[in-house]
Symmetry: C2
Subunit: 317 residues, 2 copies
């Protein structure tokens, strides 16, 4: 194994590094008949209750905690239309590091307001990948800001893995852990943590059919590009990177896809039965359990509820 | 003090009695700018995550744990259109005690379904207090079932007080604890627990203006009857009993009222910022902080989020 590929010890080191900054979110058992409905015994790692509303805050803190003095002074920069931007902005506030974010000018008001409320400086750009990357490169060069990518970075991956580490520490007798997969930062960190801690636990990535590129990459063995952005699960539209794909091939047992209807049904059940607000991406693992009950029947299943950043006033249950 | 009025030791005894049945729900710090918005430092005791979706499960378990063999066999009965019915039904399932519930035939489908899903037997009646009480008396006599009232009962009050006991154990440096008040079971249990544990913490009851009978009773010193049921906070429409009024006069520092608009605003903030689904009654304490920020500025405030049983499909944020 190449020396730089992280292992459980690196996740533990990340956990030590971010302790006190990051909330140890609760692991909530299923209630309201969800176990009876699915035939499984479910446990939910409630990262929707994390600071800045998602697991992304873990990776952001782990990255900022490792900056050197020059980097801290020049600050950091990223591009993101979603949770990574808000997470990095809040982490920057706590670590006293200036944060710049390149956001598409189409980003939702709620997400723009979140970044601003944490003191992040926003640069708007055209809503294309190319425009984002060019703008980021320009700004990085002119300001000297250090790039903290949303997932293609070992510091980020190890930080994200601390959520699953806490899950298996708090509930060690799981048979399966399911995490959503977009760019693969959460899933690869989860896989390193879970397989390192308990090699017998099955690790599954759950993905919308409409953003099923990670599934295709996994089953064909070669990296597929991002699909057209059509799923309601707007946190899962990006493609795997070489880095996250490598970890996922090594440690993840399966990537399975779910329909949009099951994602909405899972969101509603999480609201009704667990009393939690989650964003669509966070409902994808439960959607998988709902759509394949026989596969999980009688199993103890840990589910990572990845985030809760939903624009409630636009939402109809 | 009369011998039968409970004290902190009785709340502790209840906590021991129901341990393992009742979830120790998390105390969640404010996030998403709620502290900045209010000027206070807020902590939320998340009883919406309790089994059966509300603190009511605590009192129900504490009552059933103290039945004698004859009572266990004959079973228990109550009247309720809300959370007490579901809580008692679930507790009956766990303690293997048959549960009968007299419900108004106008009770919501969601609440009827909850009681049924926990194996409770429902008797529908006309939607008046008199019809409820007569039906309950008849059934109690004919079946020998033991009456477990929704709040006017020391076992219930001591059970409900265990939530606040956990709150002050987990977050001992609070200045204020706020609980919603309807019949007063939660508030009186809260006051016994908090004042017994930390006499310097201010205990406040929060109530909708439109159901402000407890406020009237508190300030006039004599018990006022229930007001017309107009508030959205449908868990707080009942009046205090002699029993809960006695405790509240003794131990509660103030009862304050809030508008319907502030209740809705608080519910939305709890969804958006804390990512929690709560019912309107549970949002009443935060509504008080929002409507009287100067009173709570700079204070560490513990808020009991009493329940999460909201019919999401009928709800518009």
């Amino acid at each position: 194994m190449p020396a730089d590929i992280p292992m459980l010890a690196d996740i533990r080191a990340a956990a030590d590094r971010i302790a006190g900054k990051v909330l140890r979110t609760p692991v909530l058992p299923a209630r309201g008949g969800l176990n009876e409905l699915t035939g499984s015994t479910l446990y939910f790692k409630a990262e929707n209750l994390q600071r800045a509303g998602a697991f992304k805050f873990r990776g952001a803190c782990n990255a900022l905690a490792q900056l050197d003095a020059n980097q801290r002074q020049a600050g950091v920069i990223t591009h993101s239309s979603g949770n990574h931007a808000a997470a990095l902005a809040l982490a920057g506030q706590l670590f006293d590091v200036p944060v710049q974010v390149v956001m598409p000018k189409t980003a939702s008001e709620v997400k723009v307001a979140a970044v601003q409320s944490y003191g992040g400086r926003i640069h708007f750009c055209e809503p294309t990948q190319q425009a984002r990357e060019e703008r980021l490169a320009d700004l990085s060069q002119s300001t000297g800001a250090h790039f903290v990518p949303p997932y293609d970075d070992w510091r980020i991956i190890c930080g994200q893995g601390t959520a699953a580490l806490e899950l298996v520490e708090d509930q060690p007798d799981l048979d399966v852990v399911i995490a959503p997969v977009g760019g693969g930062g959460l899933l690869s960190g989860t896989a390193i943590a879970v397989k390192g801690h308990s090699p017998d636990i099955v690790v599954i990535g759950a993905e919308p059919v409409l953003a099923g590129d990670a599934h295709l990459s996994f089953v064909t063995g070669r990296l597929h590009p991002q699909m057209p952005p059509r799923s309601i699960a707007d946190g899962l539209l990006t493609a795997l990177s070489e880095r996250t794909f490598e970890i996922i091939r090594r440690h993840v047992d399966a990537i399975q896809t779910v329909s949009e209807i099951d994602i909405v049904r899972a969101m509603r059940l999480i609201g009704e039965r667990l009393k939690l607000v989650v964003e669509p991406s966070a409902a994808v693992p439960l959607a998988l359990v709902l759509s394949a009950p026989a596969q999980f029947a009688g199993r103890r299943v840990g589910i990572i509820l990845s985030g809760g950043n939903l624009d409630l006033q636009r939402w109809r249950w």
